[in-house]
Amino acid sequence: MTTTTLLGELKKRGVKVRRRGERLLLRDLHGALTPELRAAIDAHREELLATLDGAERSTLTSVDSVCPYCGVGCAIRYFVDEAEDRIRYADGRESPVNHERLCVKGRFGFDYTSHPDRLQTPLIRKESAYPKGPLSTEVRGERKRRPGGLVDYDEVLPHFREATWEEALDLAATRLVEIRDRDGSGALAGFGSAKCSNEEAYLFQKLVRAAFGTNNVDHCTRLCHASSVTALLETIGSGAVTNVFGDVQNADVALIAGSNTTGNHPVAATFIKQARKSGRTKLIVVEPRRIQMADHADYFLQIDSGTDVAFYNSWMHVLIEEGLIDEAYIAERTEGFEALKAVVADYSPEVAAGICGVEPGLIREAARTFGRAERAMIFWGMGISQHTHGTDNSRCLISLALMTGNIGREGTGLHPLRGQNNVQGASDAGVIPMVYPDYQSVEDPAVREKFEQAWGVELDAKPGLTVVEIMGAALDGVIRGMYMMGENPFLSDPNVNKVRKALTNLEFLVVQDIFLTETAEFADVILPATTFFEKSGTYTNTDRRVQVGRKALQPPGGARQDWEITCEIGARMGYPMEYDSPEEVFSEFTALAPSYAGLTYDNLGLTGKLWPCPDPSEDGIQVLFGDRFPTASGRGKFVPAEFAPAKELPDEEYPFVLNTGRRLEHWHTGTMTRRSRALHAIRPGPVVDMHPADLEALGVEDGELVEVASRRGSIVLPAERSDRMLRGAVFIPFHFREAAANLLTIDELDPAGKIPEYKFCAVRVSPAS
């Protein structure tokens, strides 16, 4: 027998042989290996070692799934080494989303899942670790500069003891019930996560609403696009995008407002850059930082932070003045135009120029380019939404699209680029305090009755509190017990010093996560959960595309699937939730969410489907609202906005404006990406970006340490010279706990969207040496 025939024979019998270094690995799950074949393997050992390539994709198992990082939701084929239970390669797959493209996080950032820091056993806080408080020196706020910047397990773990799942779950449920029965349902709250699947999000909000008995359930969408969604629901009756980002290829103009697209939605950015490069699409970028997209732009308008309302009002002023509006569309499809017209009349480009710091001529020229386009698309990000006037910013962009008739056709539309891989889905699934799944209001008696019937319990009619409000209520002692699934508010919420007090003040906290997070230091019970790669579920991307993420790896040790943990807590609180699989949860969810009607795991297939999808044999509806808007009148509504400055303006004591956000290589609070070898190697720590002239004025060289302080806290980190910044502005990413940007940020909220003002507060910068 030759080696080739031997391999053929083994393959036919489903016996797998792999090489790892100088070892041969054999797996015979079906007992199909005969003694003769085993002898042949022994005899051919040397040839097999020479033939088998330890790392070739052909010897690995492929799993068709999606990316766990951003809202673009790239289709990925993972190549899994089953013997070692590790992912070796990630390849982009053909899909309408990414056409095989990936970014650095998707291609190289999957290895966090196999990091030795993974939690594997439930943990219970030891008696000696009470009264509660932060456990590590860094989270306590005592400055300690140590490289690496992850929670120090050696410092924190001794304060917890290992427990069985039974004990941990019983304790969690007993304490939550105790608080509920003593202080009422309003004393409990839950934070879900936009990193979890639709199924997990659905079950989480069901648990909080049906078993906790409260609508105090929210998640990180509150911190990214809550204001955009508020404005969209108010004006056009739907919080999702009206067109997919890929359709930019059919647009004459693409406007990018407040989005560092190449950093935060890298693959979506490739389609926008490609459209620009093709010569078809003109690109207008409006941003306070000269981001990479600006290098590709036909018009780049570097406005001062927080002046968006004045800026877009002046655009509308120009469009109206010069007759570049779509009168027919305004007459047939919209309402409230006169009120808007009256407001923007005061915002000539000259007035706006004084506020935004951009030449009036340039404002006019860019506005005309937008107004003359037959088809225009508007993309926006956190630069629009994360302000105390974030809802107003979004209203302006929506008005701009409405007055030029740029919604409902190919190459047109509104596209708030969603952040997390499942921020659209978690919102659709109802992890929002004022709505049930599919944005059905908790205050509507008919809707409530429908959900009461479906879930078999009476439900609270009062909308719940939002993320930052819940933290405030914890500080005030109103919220006593919390369940957090995959959120790390200690680093992600504004004003860390306040969050620290709030978390300390909680009587009982359950944290369910994959690593020991800063937030977990305040927990009474920590439940080890699974990563994206260790479970199956559906995720909805920024385009409304519902895609299946498929299990590729085994959970480590005693870690359990998130949806199972949620069900277990429910059962122990006297509210049994029994399902065989995530698929069963998905059908319950779709039955209650009309937008998802008709979707099943089977018809989602390899590339998913867009919701709504009235005919599951097709891909779903790409362009929404061609005829009418889902509002009461069927018309889109203009909601005018007046310019208002940010809450905390720079002054003599705090002369710089702080802007916060993300870096291409990292993700949110860094728990995943800082444990990925490649991503960590590329960008191991924080920097503050500053204009060269500002650095010079401070007498600081590129790379030297500076102290950045606001009225709420201070951090020390290296300065990076960046000619992409405006003078007087600094930018700090929020991934890095050793220089947590959110120690500085202000916890003022947008009145409508309840989103904090991450993009603007006043700081002071001084040399740290």
Partner: protein
């Protein structure tokens, strides 16, 4: 629509389609190194050569299909040409480049084995010549290797071996046309012609954003993955996967 025949089989394609695309419709996979359906064809590797009844052979990836065209995709002459091209490409190919991990492929070596190509390192590696594989700067097969072309290990994720590069430009098109990062181009003249990052900066110091597209499309392993040795998983994680160590 345009009607043509390929290897005697009729096929109809829209105007603007290439011979390569027409052949694909018939399920004929013409060998290519420089082409990828996601990229604009450039016709530099010449491996997709076909006969169209003209004195010269033509590259199917760039030649448009024409009405009444009679195309032959295989013949003795084509095979000799293709094999010769691959042998030339491999004449100074560093064999150690083929062992590195990659998400791209070893298309060049796979093609060489498919076409039965013969080149110095294959012979020395298989023991036919009794010689050790040559070093990177040794002349091979009578062709002077010059100073050799450099290695670049400055990127944290991708290793560049310029000696293994066949200048097919797939990486450059991947970077500039697909991802539109516009970091890559070419530099140098003659034998020293190389792919380059920015104005010939080391990859790790360039404006490269590490998306990996260049490595993904590279057909030779000139761009390969830098993979770190992973620590072994603990017993709890790998105890019950059903694998037996021999």
């Amino acid at each position: 629509m345009i009607d043509l025949t390929i290897d005697g089989r009729a096929v109809q394609v829209p105007p603007g389609a290439t011979i390569w695309e027409a052949a694909r419709l018939l399920g004929i996979d013409l060998p290519v190194l420089c082409h990828d359906p996601r990229l604009e064809p450039v016709g530099v590797c010449r491996l997709c050569l076909v006969e169209v009844g003209e004195p010269k052979l033509t590259a199917a990836c760039v030649r448009g299909a024409e009405d009444g065209m009679e195309v032959r995709t295989s013949s003795e002459r084509l095979e000799v040409c293709r094999r010769g091209l691959v042998e030339l490409l491999l004449s100074d190919y560093p064999i150690d480049a083929s062992g590195r991990p990659k998400t791209g492929s070893d298309a060049l070596l796979a093609l060489a084995s498919e076409l039965g190509a013969d080149w110095p390192d294959r012979r020395s590696r298989s023991g036919e010549t009794g010689e050790a594989p040559r070093s990177r700067t040794e002349p091979a097969g009578g062709i002077p290797a010059g100073q050799g072309r450099p290695l670049d290990g400055t990127s944290k994720v991708i290793f560049v071996d310029h000696q293994a590069c066949i200048l097919c430009d797939r990486c450059i098109r991947g970077c500039d046309d697909l991802q539109v990062n516009e970091v890559m181009g070419r530099t140098g003249k003659g034998y020293q012609t190389r792919i380059a990052f920015d104005l010939d900066a080391p990859m790790g110091e360039s404006t490269c954003v590490s998306c990996g597209e260049c490595e993904k499309v590279c057909p030779t392993g000139a761009l390969s993955l830098r993979v770190w040795e992973e620590p072994p998983k603990d017993a709890a994680g790998s105890g019950n996967t059903g694998w037996e160590v021999l």
